[in-house]
Symmetry: D2
Subunit: 220 residues, 4 copies
């Protein structure tokens, strides 16, 4: 089966619809109503699990709810928050770190605890903000660079493990992310989440001796 | 005057002793007793300020306590936590992020709010773990890469500001950091905090048109 | 049509066979006999062009030989050379730089001259050696980091151009590269060039608003 | 003694004047007349050696000319060349690679051959162009990233050696570099070579257990 986090909107929801057509999936998110809407869209039987990934016990409960070992875990959960550093609010900064860093650590930690001796592929979706510094995105870049460091460090720990970590860096997409991020963005030229999901799914192939381990999805 | 955080031990304490001989300084840390011991070592009058930097109000209070604008702020506060990802505890991970990421963001945010139009030099001390991924240091690297991203992004925001951000990446030092980090390290060949402080102080010079903006201090 | 350099062996040859089935292609390489063998394997009509890419006039001649603007250019040409720095020979170092750096610059330069206002996709195949430093691969890493810098800089110049630059970083493949590189490698677990070519082709898709701009193909 | 390359102008000449006051030095460059002028400025006895560092035999001859093992080698030689990629000339690109990449490799290779078991410090001066991609500096960035990769890879080879490699990334200086580079730059706010040399010398200190291994010198 396939586990998708952050599936109540955006890229996570688009991936749920794509993968749900062909495999049993479990989708997780923080908002129960929106998660149900996505499940309805999927059409096929689809497990939903409301989870706050920044709570380690809730992450364990999410994995406990799975009826089989997932062959693929796609971590899309995350949130955005922008603006010049001096205008950012302490509470929003804490939320940003919880939603992007703590949650990624807890999810990866729990997956490694359970599956490090199994052929599980774990896809960590970040942002191009993980690759460069950006003005007015300082705390968002901080959060995303943290996840990149986490992935690259844990890869070193998994060198002789069958578990695979895949890093995905998408550029700007047209999703609900923007209206709630506090940043105005002209999203006309942005990819739709469906476009990004299609490209990602097609690239997430592997062969007997290789796989695409890192990919950036650009606008344009 | 000069403000030094994380001054109750290690590099921060060593810098306090060096700078305290020639300038008025304010030292901050979480442990009042140890901070007093450092103040005594400094010899000269030296303001101490017990501060939890992961509390934005406490950070504001720290700056409010300063009697003049600091010409130099050296942020040394931070803590270490290590081990394979699957053995790390959720509570210790949260503490690590608070002590290294949230605190650096809140300190830099408050400094930029107050001083972005002034000639203030802000030195952010990280670790060589901010530069590469490391096995058994995944969350520590995550925290340190986050601070590097923060600095490099805020620099872009400060392009036309007289404020300067300096990034410092020290390698392993012999400090109290290790006994409390959960990692065994043979520190025989490590630098002392005094050695690192001396090199850092000497490098933190500037001229009319230039300054050393990034430096790595290596063992060996 | 599609232009593939370095097509006389390895990944270039494997891509020629894949793409040649469905599109007119031009394949270039330094060795005429081997290029002919690949053309025979392709089966379909396939233009061959013997080219020394480190000669700017030869690069211009290669493009002049194309009957239409290529929609896709895949630059696979390159060579390997390894060993501790003090054991490397000056002549081999010069060849390495010519085969990997000068040739990539001249090819990209000529393509931008001709096509910067057209929808041409240019894929630059490097190596995971472009992403990290490696002992006993110092000059090879130097050559590959140079090409990465070239691509990322030229991308900034092409910001408002319809031309796209795609960066590909493959890990170790089982190819003729190794016997001639001076490095012993146990290639049992390496990907075949055919496996890498298949994954690359499948990932080199684009949609109306997006495309995969950077990808790493890992062994394992 | 101290060996300084690229000493006939700019940072190399400024360092020659600083170090020449206190140590025996050998200065190398391509232009004999300018090298003599610098030697005259140094005042103290100062060996001059005209050398084309992109010729491995000439590099060996340079080291053969030294009467003692140098404790410090500062490699400043290099040249600049800029412009949109499609406007750059093939000859100038080849010169750029020779002057910056081949020369750095040959110098480091010869130094490691001779001194890898001795306490020799080798300082490699690059540019901030080694740290980021830049529009209209694509081949220059390529050359500088190559040298960075070289240094970081050879460091891995020298892990148990007493030899130290130091990487220096200066920002824009007011030197003869600009009039000959083909790029117009308003150098009013740039550092003088003397300012950069002073900061570099002061930072190139070491203690029993540590040293500054990487430093960026910024304008501003």
């Amino acid at each position: 089966m396939i586990l998708i986090t952050g599936a109540s909107s955006g890229l996570g929801a688009a991936l749920a619809k794509l993968y749900g057509k062909e495999s049993p999936i479990c989708i997780s998110g923080r908002n129960s109503d929106r998660l149900q809407l996505v499940a309805t869209d999927v059409g096929q039987p689809c497990q939903t699990q409301v989870t706050d990934l920044s709570d380690a016990d809730a992450v364990a409960a999410l994995f406990n709810s799975l009826t089989t070992t997932p062959s693929l875990i796609i971590h899309c959960a995350g949130s955005g928050y922008f603006g010049p550093i001096e205008t950012q609010s302490p509470e929003a900064i804490k939320d940003l770190l919880n939603n992007n860093v703590t949650s990624a650590i807890f999810l990866l930690r729990e997956a490694v605890r359970r599956y490090k001796d199994q052929s599980v592929t774990m896809v960590m979706v970040m942002s191009t903000a993980a690759l460069v510094p950006k003005a007015e995105e300082s705390t968002y870049c901080a959060a995303k660079w943290a996840v990149k460091a986490l992935i690259e460090s844990v890869r070193l720990e998994l060198k002789s493990s069958p578990m695979k970590l895949i890093a995905v860096y998408p550029g700007g997409m047209v999703t609900d992310f923007w209206p709630t991020s506090g940043k105005e963005a002209n999203t006309n030229s942005f990819m739709s989440a469906d476009e990004a999901a299609g490209m990602l799914k097609q690239a997430l192939q592997s062969t007997e001796h290789g796989y695409i381990s890192d990919l950036t999805i650009a606008r344009g």
